[in-house]
Subunit: 351 residues, 2 copies
């Protein structure tokens, strides 16, 4: 069944990879993005990432430069297109920045989502996939983290904005049973499309490990900072569940298919991870091997809010979405390196 | 010191009583209200409640019919007036309605507050009193509830909107130490101004006990529904901490004085209650005595989300705000009845 899917934040890392997989699966994609974290293509109205998605797939993306807080702008898009489902990626996502400018985070992530939901309701579009995060679990009380683990107790505005939005979605579904909402709780998305044409392109100093490592490997940064080596983990560094971005994108395709089939009502949550934990030093080693580059690092103090270990129980998504991550750490590192090597300055050095 | 205070939601129950006390204390008051729950005066641009506040005080209120989500409308107000502090009452507050239309609650209460804070920051007005609620404590883990009791686990969108907004305020104060914010957690505001000219005027069926009782006493409703008489309390009915609205309003005057003195930085929370718990049947009896009317009631099922007992530890406000509730249950009932008797149909039968 070919669907017409509105993707918000389609120009970003997760958005662009998901758009690619949706097009490949035969769906129509309409994107909105305010381009606040995306690089415009020099020769087109599309952001560079989506221009490349079009090249890779040979298919067209309809794009609107619209901010999701702009109710009238969104309404126009819903008037112009018959939309079956919405996949909502548009959000600010840097933990450190969220502590410096919390109001902007709450306005983009909470107000933005609620305006989008209001416009959807007004257009009778009631199927929604939400880009959530494992951060909603707060400090793990037991591992692996399954979907029944309590949520809340987030330590920064970014995490709170994801948690609050899940609560809003839950309340919305309880208030009106016609809604079907899937919230996908991402663990740590890394990697890039096999082509090396699209990938993660963070602004400024990366918040996350993998883009930091790859910028060190390519010579853009001198040295990786490892935040603490005295955690209660095998090598003392933090353990996380990394997931390849293409696996993550495929998870969204499965979720949208499930919504389109009318298989569920109300608010449902799935973890998207591999179920495997790797330490910082595991990733450094795997990346060095994949890239053939030395990755210099130094141990510095722990970062407030970081937990020792986090990884997913992935059985529910396997059972109910028919989805499982297929790509391992080696492939995550190879594909990240391929993207970095081909695009040492991300999309800004685009050709 | 005479202050210039912006009051949002100034036409409402808590807002109008606070405006009155602020004017009596010699402050200038500018009100904004979208009048979504207020009754307009027939012969003036003011809402009826504020028209009466002017009559009672002999002082003028500057009023703007502005929705706090309207950034430009708010900016105009901040341009026209030099404002020292903001007291923020504008919010939707009906628990049952919040379950039916959660998006409207989140947009009014969270988006509205965050737009207001953004406009304040842009005008360098950084002193803020927030209208919070004891509902942020969720199910009490111990009694009395002091300000260190954990928050969260709210069971309805109204309560969540109050809790989420407190978190936003906390994050804002951590991000920028120039802010001073006092969050006042109300227990159960009841009563009315001694004159009987202003009081609580709920739309439709009241959510709260006291206005329900008084509408039964005045003959507008046949019978009070008591939600459960099998709680673990002395008479089996729920026990709450009721606070006279004029005491509550005086608490706001103390909080604004403290902010104006520059006595505090960051985010601080105070309970506003009496510290005494009364059961539903205690209140029915006290109201019957005060009004000389029989209050018919019937016992019905418990309401989901209601807790058995809730009352405040009020020592912190006494110590740091120099404020204490002075009016007891008898006076709460007498003043509610006086208002109800003089205004059997609230402001809508205004003369």
């Amino acid at each position: 069944m070919s669907l017409s899917i509105l993707v918000t934040g389609g120009a970003g890392f997760v958005g662009s990879h998901t758009v690619l997989e949706l097009l490949n699966a035969g769906h129509q994609v309409i994107c909105v993005d305010n381009l606040c974290n995306a690089f415009g293509a020099a020769d087109s109205k599309l952001p560079e990432s989506l221009k490349r998605v079009q090249e890779l797939t040979g298919k067209n993306v309809t794009f609107y430069d619209v901010d999701i807080r702009d109710k009238n702008g969104l309404r126009e898009v819903f008037k112009k297109h018959k939309i079956d489902c919405v996949a909502h990626f548009a959000a600010l996502k840097a933990v450190g920045e969220s502590c410096r400018i919390p109001l902007q985070y709450y306005q983009n992530n909470i107000t933005g989502t609620s305006v989008l939901l209001e416009v959807m309701a007004g257009s009778n579009v009631l199927k929604f996939v939400y880009s959530s995060s494992a951060t909603v679990y707060g400090e793990p009380q037991k591992l692996p983290l399954d979907e029944k683990h309590p949520t809340g107790n987030c330590t920064n505005p970014y995490g709170k904005s994801k948690y609050f939005t899940e609560e809003i979605l839950k309340d919305l579904c309880e208030s009106d049973p016609r809604w079907s909402v899937i919230s996908l709780r991402y663990f740590n998305p890394v990697g890039a499309h096999k082509s090396g044409r699209i990938g993660e392109d963070p602004n400024g100093e990366p918040n996350n490990l993998m883009p930091y490592i790859s910028q060190v490997a390519v010579g853009r940064r001198p040295c990786l900072k490892v935040f603490g080596n005295n955690y209660d983990t095998p090598d003392g560094t933090g353990v996380r569940d990394y997931i390849h971005i293409v696996d993550l994108a495929e998870g969204h395709v499965c979720a949208l298919d499930k919504l389109a089939r009318g298989d569920l009502n109300g608010f449902v949550v799935y973890n998207l991870g591999t179920g495997c934990g790797y330490s910082v030093l595991d990733v450094v080693e795997a990346f060095s091997k994949a890239s053939g580059k030395e990755v210099k690092y130094e141990i510095v103090d722990r970062r407030p809010g970081d937990v020792a270990t986090s990884y997913a129980d992935v059985t529910l998504a396997a059972k109910e979405l028919g989805w499982k991550a297929k790509r391992g750490l080696k492939e995550m590192c190879e594909d990240t390196w391929n993207w970095q090597r081909l695009n040492p300055n991300g999309f800004s050095g685009a050709n």
